[in-house]
């Protein structure tokens, strides 16, 4: 019994499954368009786009897992879900603070929050790798860093898949954090708008009274959807990934479709709370 070793996760796509997924996606959008073509439909569209961004963004984050903690593979030494949740929730909080300054400022706040969190994480990880564990950064998947042109071969220890956090992985981590934070914030803002529109009539209360309730509901739904999307992307990666230069990165279309379907279905249920 092994919880670390990847068993599933074959290459390629199943056309039938993709078609079924797209039908589910269209069905979800159609139901909400039928019930409320205005705010709720735009909200669901935003939720789906947010899910897409999260699913795509997770693939950039250099995840090392348990082998990285022992200096046997490159990346940050924890699981995909934890890293994605950390970056996304940091972004979500950053964006939620700025929600009252309009969509653009709030989205920028979310993206910067997520990116900043990943930048700090990657920096501290590298400091620990280099100065505490005494291991240099060397990628196992490519011979030369695509950005700086540094060669890795001479620094790579035998019997490992590389170690440390190369520059390209650092850049990937920051891009992943930005996309994750952007997606999480977009889901939150769209749901917040839906609830702020529908809750006053539903509860016969003034918009100011239900503000806290709308924030609470949108927040918990955004966290739930973020985790669902992050885990689906994590299943697509199956374990470890080095960043955008890793061959596993090419698998991202599957996760993008999967996250779109999953967030559409979750989004429909979240919007039904005020429509049914």
């Amino acid at each position: 019994m092994s919880a670390i070793k990847a068993g599933g996760g074959s290459e390629g796509m199943k056309p039938v499954a993709v078609v079924v997924g797209i039908i589910l996606l269209i069905l979800a959008l159609g139901v909400v368009y039928y019930l409320s073509p205005g705010v709720a439909f735009m909200g669901l569209l935003g939720v789906v786009i947010g899910g897409l961004l999260i699913g795509f963004g997770v693939h950039f984050v250099p995840v090392g897992g348990a082998p990285a903690a022992m200096g046997q593979s490159p990346g940050i030494a924890t699981g995909v879900t934890m890293l994605a949740a950390g970056a996304g929730l940091a972004g979500l909080f950053g964006g939620a603070w700025a929600a009252e300054y309009g969509l653009a400022v709030a989205l920028a706040g979310g993206a910067i929050g997520g990116g900043l969190m990943m930048a700090i994480t990657c920096l501290m990880v590298n400091i620990i790798y280099v100065y505490a564990m005494g291991i240099p950064a060397a990628s196992g998947k490519v011979a030369k860093d695509p950005i700086t042109g540094d060669t890795f071969e001479a620094y790579k220890s035998q019997g490992t898949e590389g170690h440390g956090l190369p520059f390209i992985s650092y850049v990937g981590g920051v891009i992943g954090g930005i996309l994750g934070g952007l997606g999480g914030t977009l889901i939150y803002l769209e749901l917040l708008e839906v609830y702020e529109t529908f809750l006053p009539t539903l509860l016969n209360a003034s918009p100011d009274e239900v503000k806290a309730l709308a924030v609470g509901l949108a927040g918990i739904f955004a966290i739930g959807m973020f985790l669902v999307n992050a885990v689906i992307a994590a299943y697509n990666i199956t374990g470890t990934i080095e960043g955008p230069h890793d061959p596993k990165f090419k698998r991202f279309p599957r996760a993008v479709i999967g996250c779109a379907v999953a967030s559409a279905v979750c989004g429909v249920l979240a919007i039904f709370v005020v429509l049914v």
Binding site: A3, G7, G8, L217, V228, G258, L269, V276
Partner: protein, 275 residues
């Protein structure tokens, strides 16, 4: 014990306990809130076995991811179920299970077929985990507030110049207390198998740790419920969770000693006596 037996006991036990919390509304008291916590313990106990079942195929992402997707999808299904009031409040626990099963099956299909994991038990396991997440949050919610009806979860009361007024910000959902329950459930459902996995894993020990995690979550929720329930009801919840936790912890300790190769009772370091 076979997985189906664990599933049956967990699901039926959780639903019966959810209905027992409704005695609160029928009798006009709050003492029966703790049954919600017991429902969550049943669900977590079952969820741990499901995670063990799923993770034996090797997900490659670690055990915590399964707990996160369980609660992440479960909380969405649970809030929707509490809101649907066309059939009266008594269908909410069953409706919660049904909505969670549908949502979980869709997410399981996405993970298994679109993302191409190709794990035979994936769809069923994610559906089960989604139900576990939904029932756990519903149970702990009922324990914290004494009810599982949406209109009661969103309405809190605040005293304004001595007059009680409805204040949505002081409610369970408006105040964000559900986020704490969410995390308590997510940690409790994944911890037991994550801690016990390995070649020496035995089912009774893992499931005992799951029950222990459930009771310690109940313990935290009973403290949270001070904000929503009367002090005597809180005291009942507090004592039930304390007794449950002490019992399961001691049992787990005994089982750990049984499974261990060797046991050395370490003594405190003694001061060297001055001659």
């Amino acid at each position: 014990m076979s997985h189906n037996k664990v599933l049956g006991i967990g699901l039926i036990g959780a639903i019966i306990c959810m209905y027992l919390t409704y005695l609160n509304t029928l009798l006009g008291v709050q003492y029966f809130s703790f049954f919600g916590g017991i429902a969550a313990v049943f669900a977590l106990w079952w969820g741990t076995d499901t995670i063990k079942h799923l993770c034996s195929y090797g997900l490659g992402t670690g055990v915590p991811s399964a707990g996160m997707i369980a609660l992440g999808s479960g909380v969405i299904a649970m809030i929707l179920a509490t809101k649907v009031n066309t059939f009266g409040p008594l269908v909410i626990p069953v409706l919660c299970v049904v909505i969670a099963a549908i949502l979980g099956a869709i997410i399981g299909y996405v993970a298994n077929n679109i993302v191409n994991m190709n794990i035979p038990v994936m769809v069923v396991s994610i559906a089960e985990l989604c139900i576990v997440g939904a029932v756990t949050v519903l149970g702990l919610t009922a324990m914290a507030t004494g009810t599982f009806v949406f209109t009661d979860l969103i309405a809190g009361t605040a005293t304004f110049f001595g007059i009680p007024v409805t204040n949505y910000a002081a409610s369970y959902l408006g105040g964000g207390a559900i986020a704490v329950v969410f995390m308590l459930g997510a940690i409790a459902v994944q911890h037991a198998f994550n801690a016990c996995l390995g070649p020496n894993e035995s089912q009774d020990r893992t499931l005992m740790l799951a029950a222990e995690c459930g009771f310690i979550s109940m313990f935290c929720v009973s403290i949270m419920s001070v904000a929503f329930l009367s002090l005597s009801a809180v005291l009942v919840s507090f004592l039930v969770s304390l007794i449950g936790w002490v019992y399961t912890y001691k049992k787990y300790f005994v089982l750990s000693k049984r499974d261990a190769f060797m046991w050395l009772d370490a003594k405190p370091i003694r001061e060297k006596e001055e001659a």
